[in-house]
Symmetry: C2
Subunit: 376 residues, 2 copies
């Protein structure tokens, strides 16, 4: 969807004209009461569910959650996935031509910093175009959960329910620290060229690999890493199945976990845009609805009027359950209708993408209640 | 101390001739019964305690713990600090000339991988030279604690007590993962040149900075990071003391925590050797005394006969208390004399370097009992 009017941003800058890539699943009903917006996290996209014909491994990033008969049931709900501004999967971002560039260069590092609130405004404009005034629900995990939270504050009259999974009211110093190390790895890669690497015909892949490796460690729990990889040697698995002696090497892979991380880093560096990585990690850093209220989250959430479901996972140390409980407490301070589930899943932050039956059961029940409320 | 005889290593390689830098504090008594060996962790050295005359900020890395009247009291004990082989503070390592190099190049990446056990053997040879047969105690934190543990297994007859602080019987997959990301940052720095950067007149500082930033995050607790830095903006502190608006930047410092990490990274890259970083993180990865016993730590520790003090810190997520408890349990399975203190300090892994009064009280009492046992 193309937007001609400039989008003013929190920073004071604006995006002059832009496209938003989106996908929909299911059918919008006659009174347009069954729309659900799904917000994505760092490296996902508008492709939430389903597969593209003829493309293997093209499942949407939340395909276990969204689809016919699934917890967010597209036989009843009309689901919308939007790629956020600044991302690299179709919506306008650093890889697109900068209309202010005299010689037709792409934005690169000149793409303005976008905030969670900016994204929410752009999503609202998309809904306007689709003729949807009120959403049955906004749902997201991690950074997506921050968008759902922001929706309840910026457009309290435009949604009935918010589903906020594995999220937080803001980042901790440690969260910011991990983002910063990842950004430094990218920015100090000699192929980054201040964010204008496109015109040099290179990609800062070294930095992207490091960034992704760091990210992956924080997505998993210590327990699940030990269960999946433990101290297993790579050669053992590849060769005999038993554990041979160490090879006493420092630069090559010795342990399975190293092989896994390198693979994830390589894969990521092949498809993800470095400037998008900087932008989206900054979007995470900046999100902090309580900031305008001197840190008082209860005051900040007073504007939210919808019903809430919050879900956290006990092994998630990136966005720990305590962070979700801060949101729950602030909402209860405002006498809001809040459901909260803390799921004892082993997968760390990544659990929000997995199909744990307790987790999916909670979401399924919540959307069934919503369907009844809306009269679907 | 120079050693002419080659040191055979676990890997099958050897170090042909080598120096060990060491310092001593206090006086060795007549019957040589008051010697305490202090083992260092990743980036420390033989300079355990005291200051160098005329040099400000030259305190030893464990100066709060070791010295006259301190928990490890050098008025009573003769304390020895040794820089480990492969390190970069005096003992033979990657920055030294490789005797096998025809053209006089330094070892660089050709310095062989050394293990905790190799270090312990080299430390035992140093003690032989100093005429010390039996140590009153071996003590270390983190990787230093692994050396203390290895001492009890390799030379059970040569020490009375082992003090193992903030340590673990081996690294978890997550521990290895963090080491690996740090190593990749160094190895993929274009200035690394396969580990032979010295002859190119460059240093892989980008990689070292990233490695150190990652390390620092894992040394601190989430709580102490929030207490020290929180979400404070750098500009606020520098300028008005209050919190101004965000600057909406991605490549420069916005938050205080970023400034702190960059400073730590810069400082480290100025003095630490990149090959040493690879070697010592690998030494950590490889340590695993239970490995030769099919993972059975109780069997592995059966050879240890000395008394043990173990200390852990509840906010240490790098070497969590549960890891120390594994050691305690394995020692108790062997009916060993074990004291264990779990200190509720907020500082994370770094707590082992701090002077928490409960922690220091425990160590002080333990060494007082040792002094009585030895008859000091």
């Amino acid at each position: 969807m193309h937007f001609k009017a400039a989008l003013p941003l929190r920073s004071g800058a604006s995006v002059r004209a832009y496209d938003l890539s989106y996908e929909t699943y299911g059918k919008l009903n006659a009174d347009k009461s069954n729309a659900v917006l799904i917000c994505h996290a760092l490296n996902a996209s508008h492709h939430v569910a389903g597969v593209y014909p003829g493309q293997t491994k093209s499942e949407g990033w939340w395909d276990s959650m969204v689809g016919p008969g699934k917890p967010v049931d597209t036989d009843r709900f009309f689901v919308i996935g939007v790629n956020n501004l600044g991302s690299c999967f179709g919506s306008t971002g650093p890889m697109h031509v900068n209309p202010d560039s005299a010689d037709g260069h792409v934005y690169g590092a000149d793409f303005p910093v976008v905030t969670v609130e900016d994204w929410v405004h752009s999503q609202a404009l998309l809904l306007d175009r689709l003729g949807i005034q009120t959403l049955a629900a906004v749902m997201g995990g991690s950074l997506g959960g921050m968008q759902a939270t922001a929706w309840t504050l910026l457009y309290p009259g435009r949604l009935l329910r918010a589903v906020v999974v594995a999220s937080a009211p803001n980042l901790t110093a440690e969260n910011i620290a991990f983002n910063e190390v990842a950004r430094r790895a990218i920015v100090t890669d000699p192929d980054f060229h201040g964010g204008h690497f496109y015109r040099h015909g290179v990609v800062p892949k070294r930095g992207l690999r490091i960034a992704r490796m760091i990210g992956h460690i924080t997505y998993l729990s210590d327990d699940v890493m030990n269960a999946k990889f433990g101290r297993e040697l790579r050669r053992a698995v590849a060769q005999t199945g038993t554990s041979p002696d160490y090879r006493y090497i420092t630069q090559e892979v010795e342990f399975q976990i190293e092989s896994y991380l390198r693979y994830q880093g390589d894969k990521f560096a092949d498809y993800f845009d470095a400037n998008t990585y900087l932008l989206i990690t900054r979007t995470l850093d900046y999100f902090d609805p309580a900031r305008a209220y001197g840190g008082n989250l209860s005051q900040a959430l007073a504007r939210a009027t919808c019903k809430f479901l919050l879900v956290s996972f006990v092994t998630d140390w990136r966005f720990a359950p305590a962070r979700s409980r801060e949101l729950v407490k602030a909402l209860l301070d405002n006498q809001r209708d809040v459901s909260y589930a803390e799921i004892d899943a082993p997968h760390g932050h990544d659990a929000f993408l997995m199909d744990d039956p307790r987790y999916h059961g909670v979401v399924r029940a919540y959307f069934a209640a919503l369907a009844a409320e809306v009269g679907l």
